[in-house]
Symmetry: C2
Subunit: 229 residues, 2 copies
DNA sequence: GGACACTGCATTGTATACAGATTGGAAATT
DNA sequence: AATTTCCAATCTGTATACAATGCAGTGTCC
């Protein structure tokens, strides 16, 4: 996470990081218009670098833009979240298959140690922490797949759906660890199809439940953005 | 393709479209530094909207950026092209599977008519035309998959690898049509796994041959950009 | 009472100015 | 001859100004 006040960074980078964090944390309401002058004042940059950062965030799917009207926090229609999850599943299933073929034994051992150290859940963790650990596991797998483009894309998707993963994390604390261990075992045994099938089950099975989860997500979004400002 | 001179479009949009077309057509050499003042003059916009467009193109993978030094045409290392192809294969294999489950019978018929009308190759087509038809077929499949995020991503990937698809199109004019018909048949029969396997073969088999093709691609890039200006 | 036009304010779109960083090349030094 | 230093020209990074567009609130007309 880039420091917003770090003067070594360019104004564009500072604005970019700050706004992205704000979008991820739902400090903007979905569909809310972004006032450039006000935001520029808040971030202590001028509108020129601010708009460069906003343009980048539009390309990355965090904001939308309507000519003549300005920039908006992107909306999260249930269908869109569903599609993001679906793409994430496609990517991660492929990554599991590729990891089974390309991960080194050392990498597999390292990931197993990670699982040993971080689990099982003692019941004290927040949803945020659980998601972070979950993400870390999946990022390991993706690194084993040796494809930087896919890795960047997964990072982008994770940033965009993180909030909604909080919601359904509660219901599967226990199962997650076991499923992760099974996936890792398939990779260790060099069984791409089994790894892919397990990953498909691990992510894909939740797809149907997501639509309902989004409603709860929305209520939390409005709560949090109302409570902070 | 947006008209560069269309004054109804904003300066940012005009610059964005023009630069993207230039990158796709390799009017910049890989790694070439982009002079903002000169490019702004050529496109008849000021540096402010130009830089907004350049920032968008960085996020979309068409350009790179180094703070303090400026914008550069992205380089195409063999490894990167390989990874883009690989991601494309992952996406399209998933799309074939999803299309088998979700395409309507009418859509399948429509795509079959498209194949009837555009093939077989009479030997008169250029590589560019062949790639355009190939892309159109694959875009149909992707539309059947009902995922806008994946569709956008595929469009982005196609724009970024189009040049290299010209190179290996020559060698497989005939086979392409047959493979397309087989894939469509699997979708029609609602056999997701067969569709996926055929798509995997159709795209994935070429992955190994790509690295060598890139060298030829590079020579064409330098020829074309030298010849036009 | 409701629809519509008008007007002033707020906001975006773009050009330009200028400060600071970078680069390439000439001159000086080893 | 090769390397380094320094300087001027060039280029990027950012702020600001102003024009153009959109928006909301008011009043008017039907």
């Amino acid at each position: 996470m880039p420091d917003i006040a770090d003067k070594r960074l360019s104004s564009v980078d500072r604005a970019y990081g700050a706004i992205k964090d704000m979008v991820i944390a739902y400090r903007f309401k979905p569909g809310e218009r972004i006032n450039e002058v006000e935001l520029a004042k808040r971030l202590e940059v001028s509108r020129t670098p601010l708009r460069e950062a906003l343009n980048r965030l539009v390309s990355e799917g965090f904001l939308s833009f309507i000519g003549g009207r300005g920039f908006f926090c992107r909306e999260f229609k249930p269908r869109e979240i569903y599609e993001l999850y679906q793409l994430r599943a496609v990517l991660e299933v492929a990554a599991a298959r590729m990891a089974s073929e390309q991960a080194t034994d050392e990498e597999v051992d390292e990931l197993e140690r990670f699982l040993d150290e971080t689990g099982p859940d003692d019941g004290q963790r927040t949803s945020e922490e659980m998601v972070a650990l979950d993400e870390a596991f999946h990022n390991h797998i993706m690194r084993f797949a040796r494809n930087a483009e896919m890795r960047n894309l997964l990072n982008n998707l994770n940033d965009r759906i993180r909030f909604f993963r909080w919601i359904d994390m509660d219901s599967r604390r226990q199962r997650t660890q076991n499923e992760h261990r099974n996936i890792l075992d398939a990779i260790r045994c060099r069984e791409p199809e089994r790894a892919a099938a397990l990953m498909q089950g691990h992510i894909g099975r939740r797809l149907d439940e997501i639509t309902s989860g989004i409603k709860e997500g929305y209520s939390r979004i409005y709560l949090s953005s109302a409570g902070i400002d």
